[in-house]
Amino acid sequence: MSIRRFALAALASALIAGPLAAAETLLNVSYDPTRELYSEFNAAFNKHWQAQGHDPVTIQQSHGGSGKQARAVIDGLRADVVTLALAGDIDELHRLGKLIPENWQERLPQSSTPYTSTIVFLVRKGNPQGIKDWDDLVKPGVNVITPNPKTSGGARWNFLAAWAYAQQKYGSEAKAQEFVAKLYKNVPVLDTGARGSTITFVNNQIGDVLLAWENEAFLALKEQGGDNFEIVAPSLSILAEPPVAVVDKNVDKKGTRKVAEAYLDYLYSDEGQRLAAKHFYRPRNEAIAGEFAKQFPALKLVTIDRDFDGWKTAQPKFFDDGGVFDQIYQAQ
């Protein structure tokens, strides 16, 4: 019986706690590696928002795999803003959910991407395998850790970076496919998300090299201590662009458009840009990027729109069922 009484008490307390959350709320649906960034950014935005004479706003955070999060919004999660790992996932909000207009990416500067990142290698201290560039990853005996591109946005950037390198170096798509196939032969574990891979590499000590978001790699160094790992920048990588968008249908229904737009605009402000850089994202603002130039190695970067014709082409070609990634594994 005590269980039931306990449950009643919980029910009562939940009912009492409910109405307290009546102030204006904003739900930011984001992907895994941005938790730390947005916890700090939310506080900063709230301060800025109140300084402009508004009431404080409760900002709720939701994090998960980028594709999974986009799907949740399409299925009815009432996000005011989405900040996801790749434009392809936000495109689906238009295609499947009719939640945003097709030209959503033109509404904010820099293709709606306030900060960028890239793909780098994380290796064990002293780099025992001597890994310098992509070519070292396909050598026999090197174990590479990367998540599954089917379930992880970050993994898709990894894949495309490797592809771009091979295509530039060896000159043809067939050669690039061969190269990538060799690379994935060296992968012993495909986790479902970027964080899962980091944990496999860092905590369970599997593998010689982790392909990771640059911000993920820096964060792993910071959290796990810099004594055990080091970052290696390859000769060529990809400009990873995680975009942001206001979800029109939801903000219009909830009447939160003004604060949602201000929230995203603030990402482009000097303080927003500095916070992004502090959490190891590359700021778009040139001046502020300059302040942090020491932190980020200069890299030759390809982009998704110029070199792969955008996600609308890349996604079906490489990652949908029967695409290049499937062919690699089916051939084995």
């Binding site: 795999g65 594709g67 999974k68 799907r71 399409i74 689906e92 499947l96 599954n148 089917k150 379930t151 992968v187 012993p188 574990v189 495909l190 986790d191 479902t192 899962g196 905590n203 369970n204 000590q205 599997i206 990652f319 949908d320 069922d321 499937d326 594994y329 089916q330 084995q332």
Partner: protein, 272 residues
């Protein structure tokens, strides 16, 4: 439906009605929604999805590892139930109280803990590596995770039945000269088998669908260590709802047939 043999006892209509309504609202209609969704596919498309090599490999892996885990549970579960019912020994109450904990531990936590134990650098994993045995990121690891998650099923279904078999029956058989194995085969097995089958089938069915604990320890390599529920997730992440429901329907139909067969088998055994 109304060939009820015990007209004296009331409540048939009420309880059956409530049972059916509750099951329908909570389980059958939602699962029906999945079938309706999958029905958007033509048979040819449906067949193409479920006969893809990757799906077939995952199907084999999911059912084989769940079967192996259920067998392991059938053995150690019987052992545990036996010791708990028949003997008083140090730590018995502790074991008794803790058997059910795998149900309460979130499956993801179980997966993380098991991976920490059995990864090549882990507490147990390093010994296994010395012996040349790889546990984590192989089907062995998957089986191990499923064994942990479904451990309580066999123990808990056998225990009450075992407690009900009077000890004297065995002792009488032993005094009449029966060897322990004979006692087991002729006296215990027939009464235990129905319960054992129930426990086995529950563990098996639960193992086929398990997701949270397995993805951490499986390695998730296509064609090798990729389980069916993960393939559903993969389809969903490509916004392919119909593909996902097609695999869901496949899993459900196969599980249902297996469960039904085991239930029928159990009734046969029970009658014999």
């Amino acid at each position: 439906m109304s060939s009820c043999t015990s007209p004296v006892i009331p409540g048939f209509g009420l309880t059956l009605g409530y049972t059916l309504v509750y099951l329908s609202l909570l389980v059958l209609i939602p699962l029906g929604a999945m079938f309706v969704h999958a029905a958007q596919l033509t048979w040819a498309d449906f067949w193409a999805i479920i006969s893809a090599p990757r799906v077939l490999a995952a199907l084999k892996l999911s059912f084989a590892s769940a079967f192996a885990a259920a067998i392991i549970n059938g053995i150690i579960g019987t052992l545990l139930a036996w010791a708990l019912v028949r003997y008083r020994f140090p730590g018995r109450k502790l074991i008794e109280a803790m058997i059910d904990l795998p149900f309460a531990l979130p499956t993801a936590v179980a997966g993380i803990a098991l991976t920490a134990l059995y990864a090549p650098s882990g507490l147990v994993g390093q010994f296994a590596t010395d012996l040349g045995l790889k546990i984590a990121y192989t089907p062995i690891g998957i089986t191990l995770a499923l064994t942990f998650v479904t451990l309580p099923f066999v123990v808990r279904t056998i225990q009450p039945v075992l407690a009900d078999i009077p000890r004297e029956v065995e002792e009488a058989a032993a005094c009449l000269g029966a060897k322990p194995l004979q006692v087991f085969r002729h006296v215990l097995l027939p009464s235990l088998l129905p319960a054992w089958l129930t426990g086995f089938s529950l563990a098996f069915a639960r193992g086929v669908g398990e997701y949270g604990s397995v993805i951490f320890i499986a390695g998730n390599m296509p064609m090798k260590t990729e389980i069916l529920p993960l393939l559903i997730m993969v389809k969903l992440d490509q916004y392919d709802y119909t593909g996902a429901t097609a695999i869901g329907v496949l899993m459900l139909v196969v599980s249902f047939i297996l469960l039904l067969l085991i239930n029928l088998l159990q009734r046969q055994v029970g009658k014999a």
